[in-house]
Amino acid sequence: MTTHPTPDGATDRSAAAIDVQDLHKSFGDNEVLKGIDFHVGHGQVVCVIGPSGSGKSTLLRCVNMLETPTSGRIFVEGDEITDRDADVDKLRSRIGMVFQQFNLFPHMTVLRNLTIAQQKVKGRKKDEAVEVARANLAKVGLAEKESAYPAHLSGGQSQRVAIARALSMSPDMMLFDEPTSALDPELVGDVLAVMKDLASEGMTMMVVTHEMGFAREVGDNLVFMDDGVIVEEGDPRHVLGDPQHERTQSFLSKVL
């Protein structure tokens, strides 16, 4: 099932892959998210941009409950992950996550990085897990690295392995937390190419990024956040090309 956003960003909510309702998050006295409402449709690529400290990473981390929201509700594929009785581990196994710092497991080979959660969480047999892992390594162009340890990979290779690790869980959607921000400039392209392929295969993606080119080219929807609220959202070409809000204009004038 695919939904298409109307120009104002509204979609049939019952069909949303990610649905965030009135989300608040405070760290102590510091309110980082001040009432966020937004959603990601099936197969949509939503990019979230904004200055550092705007709450965009916190929003992403709330979606798979790495941060516990102070209030508000989040639905993932119709299941409420913020429900007290929700099986958060099980829901998380359907949400792939890619981190800025890769977070590969350094004491395991690349192949083991990709198989361990398949076996321990999904209960797949070893043969099946290895098969899935090899297919995903090939997909990110690193089939020959399966017996390497993460310390011997470049940043770009590490991030592609991290993407393959998340994909090996056969997730319904992928979250990306500034996936290229820790990379040397010449390595960014490889990672973005893998993400572009994923998007073209119809993967639902929520991407916190500073890569405006990627957002413009691949994103179906662009969200600009500042100071804990969504300031502006819509078609990336409109938001980037003709920002309506003064804060968006000021941010984009600095980064573009």
């Binding site: 581990d89 996550m97 959660a117 969480v121």
Partner: protein, 263 residues
């Protein structure tokens, strides 16, 4: 006027001269025959073998290994309790750690051997002396290792736990598969140091009153010294301790330099 370089050279010569003079003084002043009779009497040395190896060294290694193994498990459990979100677990672990880290190992030995019999007159600690040694060394070693292990777990970057959780692993699964293995790689050197300390603490078993076949190195050396009225047995068992601890030290240094290179 001497240049700084000449002055440095002269200072070096003075240091060498002092060293040579001290060595000469020792060599000339000492009564070598007397020293040799007291510290390294070949007849007494020979009399120590083979028992010093087959009984004493063997028992020291067994006591230490059992105590260390128990201590490692206990240390890991205490470390995880210290990091628990359940308050009482943290309090209990902190209490146990402070208690057994603060008490001399000898006191723990006495308390266990005498105290257990007083508390449970009709029961015994399984495996006799070996059981008591394992418990006592394990409690003392475990209390120390708990803090080391906790530090190791906290030294693993937070992102590792987050990545494991994001893949759907439970907290305990992530601990077992991802965090603890990395923590142990970080703390291998301090853990090996703890093993060296326990090797020496195993000598405290003498307080239990042992039969000959249960003697470990220190007890064996003391008995030998009393029999021979000579320090040679102590020298022999001292060398046996070094036989255990020096290779361990070398292993630790290797691991540390390898960890240094990997950075």
């Amino acid at each position: 006027m001497a240049s700084p370089r000449q002055r440095a050279a002269r200072l070096r010569y003075v240091q060498y001269a002092v060293l040579v003079l001290v060595l000469l003084a020792i060599a000339l002043l000492a009564d070598w025959d007397q020293l040799k009779r007291a510290f390294w009497d070949w007849e007494v040395v020979k009399a120590q073998f083979p028992d010093v190896i087959t009984i004493a060294l063997k028992n020291t290694i067994i006591y230490t290994a059992c105590g260390f193994a128990f201590g490692l498990v206990l240390g890991l459990v205490l470390a995880l309790m210290r990091l628990s979100s359940v308050g009482p677990y943290r309090w209990i672990a902190t209490g146990v750690i402070e208690l057994f880290r603060g008490l001399p190992a000898l006191v723990v030995f006495i308390a266990l051997s005498v105290g257990f019999n007083l508390a449970f007159p009709d029961r015994q600690i399984p495996f006799g002396n070996l059981g008591i040694v394992t418990l006592a060394l394990g409690l003392v070693g475990g209390a120390y290792m708990a803090e080391t292990i906790r530090a190791g777990i906290q030294a693993v970057p937070k992102g590792q736990m987050e990545a494991a959780r994001s893949l759907g692993m439970s907290h305990s699964r992530a601990m077992i598969s991802v965090v603890v293995p990395q923590a142990f790689r970080i703390i291998l050197p301090p853990l090996t140091n703890e093993l060296i300390l326990l090797t020496k603490d195993s000598s405290l078993v003498y307080i239990l009153g042992l039969a000959l076949e249960d003697y470990e190195l220190t007890k064996f050396g003391r008995e030998g010294m009393n029999t021979a009225a000579n320090l040679t047995p102590i020298i022999v068992i001292g060398l046996c301790y070094l036989l255990i601890t020096v290779p361990l030290s070398i292993v630790v240094r290797r691991m540390e330099s390898r960890a240094e290179r990997a950075r």
